[in-house]
């Protein structure tokens, strides 16, 4: 594991308040957004964020749980994965 950066993927039906809801939880966990992309494909809201945990006592399990809970509330799927998985799979 080379960093404390995570890729957060949010997929679901578009509605008001998705970005607001997700970023609120990020702030609560001291997670900073390094990059963000968002698009609507076939009515499907897709947001991909590169985020970095800033807190010294960052608890990944608790963060993932909180993200899933907010995802459920907003009716979208939220996946939090360490960035290395994508780097390793697609880059040499």
């Amino acid at each position: 594991m080379s960093s404390s950066r995570f890729v957060i993927t949010v997929i679901g039906l578009d509605r008001v308040g998705i970005v607001a809801g997700i970023t609120r939880v990020l702030a609560e966990h001291q997670v900073n957004i390094a990059d963000i992309r968002q698009s609507i494909m076939d009515d499907l809201f897709t947001m991909i964020m590169l985020a970095e945990a800033k807190g010294e006592n960052f608890d990944l399990a608790a963060f993932q749980q909180a993200m899933q809970a907010i995802g459920k509330e907003l009716g979208v799927e939220v996946i939090v994965q360490h960035e290395d998985v994508f780097r390793f799979m697609h880059r040499i």
């Binding site: 991909i48 990944l60 996946i79 994965q81 360490h82 998985v85 390793f88 799979m89 697609h90």
Partner: protein
């Protein structure tokens, strides 16, 4: 953003809809320090050793699973072949060792423990014989223990006495687990050229020459390959090979990353990454489906061996490019009961035992998870093993037989094993006798291919 969104979505789709997973993280544990003439002392040393090495295995694997969002399906342990480490035990019966392994497996929370094994390709020691004779009872009275016996290598030839014995042992194992459809046989493999670092069950053991404690990882993904091949528009076979190679590359990279991280956190050495397309009963997660995606109406028809050869080779090439630690079996598995496409092919009548045997010449393992009628004779089972061992010996490759003579069942019946082991259609065998051939015993000499020095 350095990582392209399409790549992120591709990875996520592989996991969520195409069944990509780390099939197993297997910890190899050396038991050579546990030897003792007193069986009870030996058992308690084995128990303590496994608990000491593997107490954090499951928790660590789960942490990594959450960190990367890639499911790790099984956590397993392989140990030094018990026949070797229990050789000095003054006891005729080694069933209690299997119980010890089972107890340790439950305690640390793993799914399977492999290594109730013997290597007898050139001959048997008294310890080997005691272990093999303990197999039926050991498998009938444990849940997580797997057994394997290596009866042939390219260097040594085929030990036909052991082949004859294993025919009888398989029948006894089926009888001893009669109520579960002969389930014990699903945990027993007979090998030629068994690899020392295989993370997959039932054949995993911690070979001689391995480090003290090692992490081997098995990655799977027939569903991903199947999906990638089906996405191609009217491809040539060269394009299919290229596509499989690229997909295998990606899967392997992910496995290596996970393996190294687990090993580092546990303070163990990272051993090998075994990229094997291991199907599951889930629809689409099927090696047969990949072969059919190449243009065969039903797996097992003419052309199947060629298609499988292309698949197996492309998987290896992709894997070899992606990691310097590719080992184990690495290729395509063709277990009938675990592959929904294979089961359907058998039921349609397109896939037979003879065709499966031909397919094992070009893929990574052998006749795997095949149910045959309960009244199949021990000599016929031995003869099936002998054929498969000959293929491994001559082609300098691993081959194996995991066959279930399902008690009381006849051709066309279905035997259900549950979970990843799936459902096996009972397949016909030849009715002509092999009795005299098997009864001759002795050794089939090592082939000319063995003279490489």
């Amino acid at each position: 953003m350095l990582i392209h969104p399409e790549e992120i979505l591709e990875t996520i789709k592989m996991v969520t809809t195409q069944h990509l997973d780390i099939r197993t993280v297997t910890m190899g544990i050396n038991l050579r320090g546990c030897c003792h003439p007193d069986l009870e002392t030996f058992n308690s040393r084995v128990y303590d050793r496994i608990l000491r090495c593997a107490e954090n295995l499951v928790r660590t694997a789960e942490e990594i699973q959450n960190l990367y969002g890639i499911p790790i399906i099984n956590k397993r342990i392989s140990v030094t072949p018990i026949a070797i480490v229990a050789e000095s035990c003054q006891s005729e019966d080694l069933v209690s060792v299997a119980h010890t392994l089972d107890r340790a497996a439950h305690e640390v929370g793993i799914d399977f423990v492999g290594g109730f094994s013997a290597l007898v390709q050139k001959g048997m020691t008294p310890g080997d014989l005691r272990l093999i004779q303990s197999i039926p009872q050991a498998l009938a009275t444990t849940r997580k223990v797997c057994a394997s016996v290596n009866v042939a290598t390219t260097k040594a030839g085929i030990n036909m006495d052991a082949v004859a014995l294993m025919g009888r042992i398989i029948k006894q194992t089926a009888e001893a687990t009669r109520d579960a459809g002969g389930l014990g046989c699903a945990k027993l493999v007979v090998f030629a050229n068994a690899p020392d670092d295989n993370p997959f069950m039932a054949g995993a053991f911690h070979g001689i020459g391995e480090p003290d404690c090692v992490i081997n990882v098995g990655v799977s993904g027939p569903g991903v390959v199947n999906h990638a091949v089906r996405e191609l528009r009217n491809p040539s076979l060269g394009e299919i090979a290229e596509c499989i190679k690229k997909t295998a590359f990606k899967i392997t990279r992910m496995g290596e990353m996970v393996g190294r991280e687990v090993a580092q956190r546990l303070g163990a050495q990272f051993g090998v990454l075994d990229l094997s397309l291991a199907p599951t009963p889930a629809v689409g997660d099927s090696v047969a489906a990949i072969l059919e995606a190449m243009g065969l109406e039903s797996c097992g028809t003419h052309g199947t061996t060629a298609a499988l050869a292309l698949l197996n080779d492309a998987v290896k090439k992709g894997g070899a490019m992606a990691s310097s630690s590719v080992g184990g079996l690495s290729g395509a598995f063709i277990p009938v009961s675990e592959d929904e496409g294979m089961i359907r092919a058998v039921q349609r009548g397109s896939l037979t035992l003879d065709k499966l045997e031909a397919m094992t010449c070009v893929c990574s393992v052998g006749l795997d998870m095949i149910a045959v009628p309960g009244d199949t004779s021990p000599a016929t089972i031995s003869a099936i093993i002998a054929d498969e061992m000959a293929i491994g010996m001559i082609n300098k490759k691993t081959t194996a037989v995991r066959i279930i003579p399902a008690p009381g069942m006849k051709v066309g019946d279905m035997v259900e094993f549950g979970g990843l082991l799936g459902i096996a259609p009972v397949m016909p065998v030849h009715n002509f006798s092999s009795e005299v051939f098997i009864a001759r015993g002795g050794r089939i000499p090592a082939p000319i291919q063995s003279l490489t020095n």
